[in-house]
Amino acid sequence: LGRTRAAQRGSPSCRRELCCDGDWHCTASWKTHSGSMWRVTWAHPEFGQVLASCSFDRTAAVWEEIVGESNDKLRGQSHWVKRTTLVDSRTSVTNVKFAPKHMGLMLATCSADGLVRIYEAPDVMNLSQWSLQHEISCKLSCSCISWNPSSSRAHSPMIAVGSDDSSPNAMAKVQIFEYNENTRKYAKAETLMTVTDPVHDIAFAPNLGRSFHILAIATKDVRIFTLKPVRKELTSSGGPTKFEIHIVAQFDNHNSQVWRVSWNITGTVLASSGDDGCCTGILKGNGSPVSGSSQQGNSNPSLGSTTLSLQNSLNGSSASRKHS
């Protein structure tokens, strides 16, 4: 906060940071990993100006912005310092995401070796100290992760993992893991059996006080699921929460692989990016399921109680036309 900022991974391994005070200008640009960097993500500003990145070079890194001391030449200027490198992965680290701020300063990485690793910095003022708290085995090459943002006490910490594994044995590509207070470990809660194509991105929607969760998945199309926790009394106590899973929307408007999905602040709009460009859509759904089995999407996705209207589609254009 203070200024709007964006971090961009350049090619192949150079990161740029841009700062907006009205106009955007690049405030810092530096070389990072020794291989292509895949993703970059901000921590919550409560922890300061902190970034994490992950790379093909099998590492993830945490960066902090340092403001120059007031008595030297760098007064007021900032530069970025690498605070730690996380080297546990033996394969390319494909995604890195900070946990919701109520969990403290914590992040998760996932790798091509099928492991999700969760690290924590116990002292938020010392970003060089991170400890590996959990290693979750997904048994499939992982491509993306998403933390459930809900801070409700009714919801245990939860992380969704997507896989783009193309081996023929690998079937269901999305798994949900939940933290168990008793065992102090993450255990698998659910697998989305209907998602069998490679998954490129996954995103929980912001929780506006709902009891259930909404998850968007970028695969060969855009899919949106709801996960309704089944009441604990009905399941064996001590185990992970059971969920009623329903698909509430499916869009193949991209007519191609979908690479990214992302929710806006209030979870009313989902943006997705495919080979044909970027789309945004408005969701007016509470995610009520449609009676019946799985739905096949087509270009007219009206699924029972959910209304979706694609309001905008952002495409690239080689002609120099002004965008509206």
Binding site: L18, K101, C278, K284, S302, N312, S313, L314, S317, H323
Partner: protein, 611 residues
């Protein structure tokens, strides 16, 4: 429920070839960032991106128009006023008050239109002139629709007066625009009828009026058939028109700028006592006759038709699609909701339509650096999701200045949004610490009631003092007041500073007692004890005896405690004390000073017995 309403609009990004390239994106507080990329995981790729730009996509551009800003500001006042008087709206005056609110909204639209029109005329280049003009016509359409909704839904004019309201409506909007041409047709006829209706203080019933009107019609018919106007085709045509002959009316099509003008004219001559429920029938046929199969209805036509059909939901839906921002539908729907016209048309977003539209509108306001404050009030009046939406948005407001931060905090505190208060203060405290502004960091920590962070900042203060020998931000520390109790370390900081003040005021006895109590009460961190004992030296070496014998014993105990290096505690300070030569010398000096003071204190206390 509903389906895709139409093809999505496409926004093209210049310089990016969508056939070959991919785009990545991220959401900002009020915009979206988009840039070209390659999602290909292989190191080498033929489809490497070559467009070097990041694009910012704005969704709610209207928020930035400085002319529309007045519209947003003033309508905000009307909106809040309406919510507040809701409880007072009772009985017969209710309808009148709601109509008044509606007229207020419309006058705000018209004022904005007027201003925009001035800008259009004064525009220096034709492109911006055109832009202003198109905005004027959009505002004009908005007012047209709102006015019709006011007549049909809010005023709920019964049969009879309904037509008069519609006449006013047409006169105001259509005749305004086409004043010259409409003059010929529009002005002649109402004058004939005003006296006929004699409405001010109208005591006639509808039936009486109908009867009179029938008689008059029959008279006209007779004149036509008798060929009274045979010599003048124009007068004959006029007579036909007055009998509501549609063909005759349509012959004057150029004078009727649109189908709803035609509709009202038609009704005036053939069905002046038209009832609201019959309106749509005439509306549809008027539209069909006027277009004559040559052109198809425009969005505005569809909206007006939906209004004539009393299909409020369709009106709102069509307006939502046709207009570029949520302002219109949000405010109109809210007003109609206060008129109790919206049933529980449950949109499955967990809230009703009114709330959904208000939430969308308010979210758009948050994209703006100052209009967001208006958005807060809109969220306040959304009972289901308003609060949580506000919580999510308010955390994302860029806090560029302290003034803005304080404004945001005040809003949060007023609404008991304690988590947001804590979070914002924490963000500011962290930013201050990173910029080494310790005083600012401390005050934000106190405001956040964040004991842990207050401890951290206090430690920094103390460390600074040790390194530089003086305090920064004395004002703040001196005036902590009860906030000092937030954390032990903060309390120590405050008390330690007080010690220095007392010493400066030469109140040595008080200073000495305070210094000792800081150690004996365990408020002082052990790491600081050496500093405290060193601070005691000047007091020990004064000419007069300041520390009493008992106090001196205490000090000695503290020193021995510190230097003893108990094995199970593995005190790093004790270790350091033993290793460091300077530290050893200090300890020696202290022991000497304490011993000397003890001697003098014992003597003094022994001698002064009884005084």
């Amino acid at each position: 429920m509903e389906e895709l309403d139409g093809e999505p609009t496409v926004t093209l990004i210049p310089g990016v070839n969508s056939k070959k390239k991919q785009m990545c994106f991220d959401w900002g507080p009020g915009e979206m960032l988009v840039c070209e990329t390659s999602f290909n995981k292989k190191e080498k790729s033929e489809t490497a991106p070559n467009c070097p730009f990041i694009y910012i996509i704005w969704k709610d551009v209207d928020v930035y128009s400085h002319i529309l800003r007045k519209l947003f500001n003033e309508s905000h006042g009307i909106f809040v006023g309406l919510q507040r008087i809701e409880e007072e709206l009772t009985g017969k005056s209710r309808k009148a008050q709601l109509v008044r609110v509606s007229k207020n909204y419309r006058s705000v639209i018209r004022a904005c239109m007027e201003e925009m029109h001035q800008f259009a005329i004064a525009a220096k280049d034709p492109a911006s002139g055109r832009q202003f003009s198109s905005q004027v016509s959009i505002l004009s359409a908005m007012e047209l629709i709102w006015n019709l909704c006011e007549i049909l839904f809010i005023e709920v004019a019964p049969a009879g007066p309904l037509l008069l309201h519609l006449l006013d409506w047409v006169r105001l909007h259509v005749c305004e625009v086409d004043s010259l041409s409409a003059d010929v047709l529009g002005s002649e006829n109402p004058s004939k009828h005003e006296s006929f209706w004699n409405l001010p203080g109208n005591t006639q019933t509808l039936t009486e009026l109908e009867l009179k009107w029938q008689h008059w019609r029959e008279e006209c018919e007779r004149h036509l058939q008798d060929g009274t106007f045979a010599s003048s085709p124009r007068l004959e045509s006029l007579c036909k028109i007055m009998l509501g002959d549609e063909a005759a009316l349509l012959e004057q099509k150029e004078l009727l700028s649109n189908w709803y003008h035609f509709l009202v004219t038609r009704l005036l001559y053939s069905h002046p006592t038209v009832k609201p429920i019959d309106l749509h029938f005439y509306a549809q046929s008027s539209l069909d006759m006027f277009l004559g199969g040559e052109s198809s209805p425009e969005p505005l036509d569809n909206i007006l038709m939906a209004a004539f059909e009393f299909d409020i939901h369709q009106v709102i839906k069509e307006c939502s699609i046709a207009l570029s921002n949520w302002w219109f539908v949000a405010h109109l729907t809210d007003l109609l909701d206060h008129c109790r016209l919206l049933q529980a048309h449950n949109l499955y977003f967990g809230s009703n339509m009114r709330e959904f539209l208000l939430l969308e509108y308010a979210s758009g306001l948050f994209a703006h650096h100052s209009l967001w404050q208006l958005g807060v009030d809109y969220f306040d009046y959304c009972p289901e999701l308003g609060r949580v939406s506000l919580e999510l948005h308010i955390e994302r407001i860029p806090l560029n200045t302290e003034r803005k931060a304080l404004k945001v905090l005040r809003i949060c505190e007023q609404r008991q949004m304690t988590e947001q208060v804590r979070s914002i203060c924490k963000i500011l405290a962290m930013k201050a610490v990173r910029n080494n502004r310790l005083g600012s960091a401390l005050s934000w920590s106190i405001r956040a009631k964040d004991a842990a962070f207050a401890t951290l900042v206090s430690d920094r203060f103390l460390r600074d003092y040790c390194e530089r020998g003086c305090f920064s931000d004395l004002d703040l520390i001196d005036n902590l007041g009860p906030a000092m109790m937030l954390s032990d370390r903060l309390t120590f900081l405050g008390k330690y500073r007080e010690f220095h003040r007392l010493y400066g005021e030469k109140r040595f006895g008080d200073a000495a007692s305070l210094l000792l109590s800081l150690m004996t009460s365990q408020i002082a961190p052990r790491s600081f004890w050496m500093t405290l004992l060193t601070d005691a030296l000047p007091l020990l070496e004064q000419k007069q005896v300041i520390f009493s014998a008992e106090q001196t014993y205490e000090l000695m105990r503290c020193l021995e405690d510190l230097t003893s290096g108990k094995p199970e505690r593995a005190d790093p300070d004790a270790q350091r004390l033993q290793d460091d030569d300077i530290e050893t010398t200090k300890v020696e000096m202290l022991r000497l000073a304490l011993a000397r003071n003890l001697a003098r204190a014992i003597i003094r206390e022994g001698s002064l017995e009884g005084s």
